[in-house]
């Protein structure tokens, strides 16, 4: 007997004993087809302005830095200001995201743009978020050539652009958005929810920023 059959056999013996199998199957199929929404915190509900404000507040509370700009055209300048303020080399790594590509990077003559996944030698990576989540100050990032997952983890500094209109009050709204984008039950290869820069409390419970992922997370909220 295979291990699968053995484990399933034990489970069925305990769980299915006497119970109506058809009903059990129906219950499961129903839940998978129509996931119940559950309890969604009030905190993130309200006007769009409230959501954006809360998102920024929550992100700053977990040691991310935030800049708000009016339009995508302002993003390259904001990135270059960040690099200068942190004394970083004028070079950024990013994927093929069209929203990023459409920005006027060429106006910044001295800025080097490297496209593709990170090789581990990048000081700064730039990504475009799929969404933001106000209740926790989280950004959601999808893998793929547009925003390679390595850009989220290998650079020392991670800059994430998020459209204000994509900032949802709660996680469930973003999950619904994913279902719309990828079809029911579909997912990107990697979905990263990122809430602040990496950290560790493993030595004497003292929290230190910059563990194995980026030491700094900078969010640029557009709109």
């Amino acid at each position: 007997m295979s291990a699968r059959d053995a484990i399933m056999g034990k489970l069925r013996k305990t769980l299915g004993a006497g119970a109506d199998d058809a009903t059990r199957r129906e219950t499961v199929a129903k839940r998978l087809a129509k996931p119940p929404k559950g309890i969604v915190p009030e905190r993130g509900q309200g006007s769009d302005a409230h959501k954006v404000k809360l998102f920024c507040q929550m992100a700053e509370a977990v040691a991310a830095s935030v800049t708000r700009v009016r339009s995508p055209e302002r993003v390259p300048k904001t990135v270059s200001d960040y690099l200068r303020a942190k004394n970083l080399p004028a070079s950024v790594r990013m994927g093929a995201d069209r929203r990023l590509k459409a920005m006027p990077w060429d106006k910044l003559k001295s800025l080097e743009l490297k496209y593709g996944p990170s090789d581990g030698f990048d000081e700064v990576g730039v990504s475009h978020a799929f969404a933001g989540i106000a209740e926790t100050g989280t950004v959601a990032l999808l893998s793929g050539k547009d925003n390679p997952s390595t850009v989220n983890f290998l650079p020392e500094h991670h800059i994430v652009v998020v459209d204000a209109k994509d900032i949802a009050g709660d996680l469930e709204t973003v999950l619904s958005g994913l279902r719309r984008k990828f079809g029911k039950g579909g997912m990107p290869r990697t979905l990263n929810f990122v809430t602040g820069p990496s950290r560790s409390g493993d030595i004497e419970q003292k929290i230190i920023l910059g563990a194995h992922g980026p030491r700094a997370l900078h969010l640029i909220v557009v709109g």
Binding site: L32, K37, V62, I203, E204
Partner: protein, 478 residues
């Protein structure tokens, strides 16, 4: 790993005399309790979410076979491989086979209690494969040749000067004047060393906080980013998870996430929550080429349908040990196997047998704090009592201890009387504890206190304080 749970008493005595350990354990009391309370208090829906989280897991456990089936189908659809393992040995064998097919010499590991449970590192080592722990705490204890003493803070028993000594011993190429006196400089050194390992490894192994039936995804929840580098950079990603990690849908994950980080570290959300679904896809510039999931039973099916089923709701947040006076006094290693604290006291006898782990449920003052903070509302004291009764029936306890417990049990069955007697006794006991607030003897529980001190209670019982706090809350809400 060698099981030392049967000598819990001696382990505890040893722990109480270990000055380094006692110093380090202060960080548990200081580091977790307030943070959790603040995070919980800041979310009005927190207690309702705990109910929801409990109900989700109960529902899942009642339909576990069907959700596992659905999950397996989804993983396969997304190009991943599912392997089933009945025992620890089976799981180790599957890991080794995958590694051999890759000619792997180095594997990196994200933090995972399940790989501790199956003692994977030693096994791989014997097979000539280097297993590198990449979580800072895990890395430290791997250098020290130890096991985790806490399920989310594996090196909580170590002080920074000990870490410095370990780094100097193993990273012997470092110049003497290199500063390693602070957590920051130690972390930098670990980060530098481990960066190279992520790129070198052929296989990355992680556990999973959740497996999602709706999408076939594995979920890891971390703060350091090491787990992500472990599953992202090597050619092959292996996920090892026990079967009860399944949850039905993404929405269910969301509900439980809201109680997980708050209960564990007092964060609203951990830094990285990552869902992985299958291997690298066409056009993907990064990600593993192969994605394997090993679904491990190792005793879970035998807990289902018994009085220990509720334990399968556990999400390994660590809150029960963070709030446990016994854990505060003796630390995690005294428990003698992988899982310490109240959750370990219940789980260990279930997984390795009552003859080896049966002493652990005695390591409890029945103060009830573990249950009161458990996000999954697991009745830990009740289950410890079940084990005690079983051990008692088997006559494994010395007669005096049995006698004491019998009296205690008589009280415990009459909660009003018990509350009355303890409310009388506790101020008295606080006196016994003296200035140091520690007891060296406790009436009726000589078997326990003969060899160790217990922290003396505050002059009100936990239940009294709890009720005051709760009624305060209600007043505030009204």
């Amino acid at each position: 790993m060698e099981v030392t749970s049967p000598t819990f008493k001696q382990n505890a005595v040893h722990a109480l005399h270990d000055a380094q350990l006692q110093k380090a354990l202060g960080n548990v009391r200081a580091g977790f309790i307030d943070k959790r309370r603040k995070a919980a208090d800041a979310l009005p829906e927190f207690d309702a979410l705990r109910d929801a989280a409990r109900d989700i897991k109960d529902h899942t456990l009642a339909h576990l076979d069907l959700y596992l089936e659905a999950y397996e189908q989804k993983v396969t659809d997304s190009g991943g491989h599912v392997h089933w393992a009945e025992t620890a040995e089976d799981a180790r064998r599957i890991v080794l086979d995958i590694c051999r097919m890759q000619n792997a010499r180095t594997v990196t590991k994200g933090k995972s209690m399940i790989t501790e449970e199956i003692a994977l590192n030693d096994f791989l080592q014997l097979a000539g494969i280097k297993a590198v722990e990449t979580d800072l705490g895990e890395y430290i204890i791997q250098l020290r040749n130890e096991h985790p003493s806490h399920i989310i803070a594996p090196a909580v028993h170590v002080n920074k000067d000990q870490v410095e000594a370990d780094f100097r011993r193993v990273h012997d190429y470092l110049p003497d004047d290199r500063d390693l006196t602070e957590p920051e400089t130690l972390l930098d050194e670990a980060r530098r060393v481990l960066r190279a390992q992520y790129f070198e490894a052929e296989v990355g192994i992680t556990g999973a906080n959740f497996l999602v039936a709706e999408t076939g995804s594995s979920v890891i929840v971390t703060n350091e980013g090491n787990g992500d580098l472990t599953q992202l950079l090597p050619r092959v990603h292996i996920v090892i998870a026990s079967i009860e990690k399944i949850v039905p849908t993404l929405n269910d994950v969301s509900q439980i996430l809201r109680v997980l980080a708050r209960s564990a570290t007092g964060q609203d959300m951990s830094v990285y929550t990552t869902l992985s679904t299958g291997p690298r896809r066409k056009g993907d510039p990064d990600g593993p080429e192969q994605y394997h999931v090993i679904l491990l039973d190792n005793g879970r099916t035998s807990m289902l349908g018994t009085e220990f089923q509720d334990m399968l709701r556990c999400i390994r947040c660590g809150a029960c040990m963070n709030h446990c006076p016994v854990y505060h006094a003796v630390g995690g290693h005294a428990y003698g196997w992988v899982y310490p604290g109240p959750m370990g006291a219940v789980l260990t006898p279930s997984l390795i047998g009552v003859d080896k782990g049966g002493h652990l449920p005695n390591a409890s003052t029945f103060c009830g704090r573990c249950e009161s903070v458990c996000p999954m509302r697991i009745p830990l004291p009740k289950m410890m009592r079940h084990w005690r009764e079983r051990e008692f029936e088997r006559g494994l306890n010395p007669a005096t201890q049995r006698y004491g417990l019998k009296i205690w049990a008589a009280f415990a069955k009459r909660p009003r009387l018990y509350n009355f007697v303890t409310s009388m006794a506790i101020p008295l006991l606080a006196l016994f504890g003296g200035r140091k607030k520690r007891f060296s003897f406790l009436p009726l529980a000589g078997g326990w206190t003969r060899h160790r001190d217990l922290p003396a209670p505050e002059s009100r019982t936990f239940m009294q304080q709890w009720r005051e706090r709760e009624s305060g809350k209600q007043r505030a809400a009204a």
